[in-house]
């Protein structure tokens, strides 16, 4: 590792808060995309199982 200790990695000579804030927000957005997709996917699969089949307008 480039840094000597975990403290140095977190601190990054004073730039730590900026760097970690960015990556924190990055993790938030990436995870948010994945988790919201998962929740919606669950909901829509439930909807498929609950709804009546109506194949009239299939091309």
């Amino acid at each position: 590792m480039y840094f000597d200790s975990i403290q140095a990695l977190l601190h990054m000579d004073g730039h730590g808060p900026y760097v970690w804030a960015c990556y924190g927000m990055g993790a938030l957005v990436f995870l948010g995309l994945v988790l919201s997709a998962r929740a919606q996917s669950k909901r829509s699969i439930e909807m498929i199982c609950a709804s009546d089949v109506n194949d009239e307008d299939v091309q």
């Binding site: 990055g26 996917s41 498929i48």
Partner: protein, 251 residues
């Protein structure tokens, strides 16, 4: 007009559903692996930048998201074009997905750019060409999302909304280079020299490799999310079809 085979296949939702179902696990795992490698490498192992110190490590988030933000706009406009020309429903669903993911990536690029600006330029926000164009790109994405949102309701209304969003995306495509060039010209007229710092940072090979991995990782993540969200849109718009029920119950 003769429809190419590839686009013809995209017109078949069951085909897309099957293929995307096979691709998604591969893409998801690959994206996860690439991004973890790139970011652990970039944050913990890459050397420090001589000029900017450790703050430059934001590059491993900023540049990939900015690249995806722009590329994603063109993906969105392309799906819009294909939708308008060939009326392929699947493209409408993909346009909706592309708008959401693209907006999220643009937001991240803006946010990380602003936070990076503080230790580098001493200010959170600089009206330079790239940041300003990125902000306008964000507005364009929000416009597309806003249109899609405003036309919610009946199925015909939703279709009209996607058409409107496609037209807007296409007009935006013509405009993006014009906007970028004008903003670039305008702000280069009276740019303080101190801001040129990031422009020509000679980037070392040991810093470049994780950056390239991060960019590829973000592309794969984008493809993964695009397929996933399109599948979800497909599930909710075709929820009463037999093939979908078969596909779901097979799992």
């Amino acid at each position: 007009m003769k429809v190419p085979q590839f686009i013809h296949l995209l017109g078949s939702p069951p085909w897309f559903y099957r293929i995307s179902g096979q691709l998604m696990p591969v893409l998801g795992l690959l994206a996860c692996a690439l991004l973890i490698v790139a970011w652990v490498w970039g944050l913990g192992f890459a050397p420090e930048d001589a000029k900017q110190g450790n703050s430059y490590r934001i590059i491993y988030l900023h540049v990939p998201t900015a690249v995806i933000a722009l590329a994603g706009y063109y993906v969105m406009a392309f799906t819009g074009l294909v939708y308008l020309v060939w009326r392929i429903q699947l493209m409408a669903l993909m346009l909706k997905s592309a708008a959401l993911i693209g907006a999220a990536m643009t937001f991240l690029a803006l946010f990380s750019g602003a936070v990076w600006g503080k230790p580098t330029w001493g200010t959170w926000w600089v009206w330079d060409a790239r940041i300003t164009s990125m902000l306008i790109l964000f507005f364009l994405y929000l416009g597309v999302l806003g249109i899609i949102n405003a036309f919610s309701g009946s199925k015909t209304s939703q279709q009209a909304g996607v058409k409107a969003a496609s037209i807007l995306a296409l007009v935006g495509t013509v405009n993006i280079p014009i906007i970028y060039k004008s903003v670039d010209w305008w702000f280069s007229l009276h740019q303080p020299a101190t801001l040129k710092l990031t422009g020509k940072s000679n980037i070392d090979g040991s810093m470049l490799t994780p950056l390239l991995i991060a960019i590829v990782g973000c592309y794969v993540f984008y493809a993964f999310m695009l397929l996933w969200r399109t599948r979800i849109e497909l599930q909710s718009s075709e929820h009463n079809k037999q093939w979908l029920r078969d596909a779901v119950s097979k799992k």
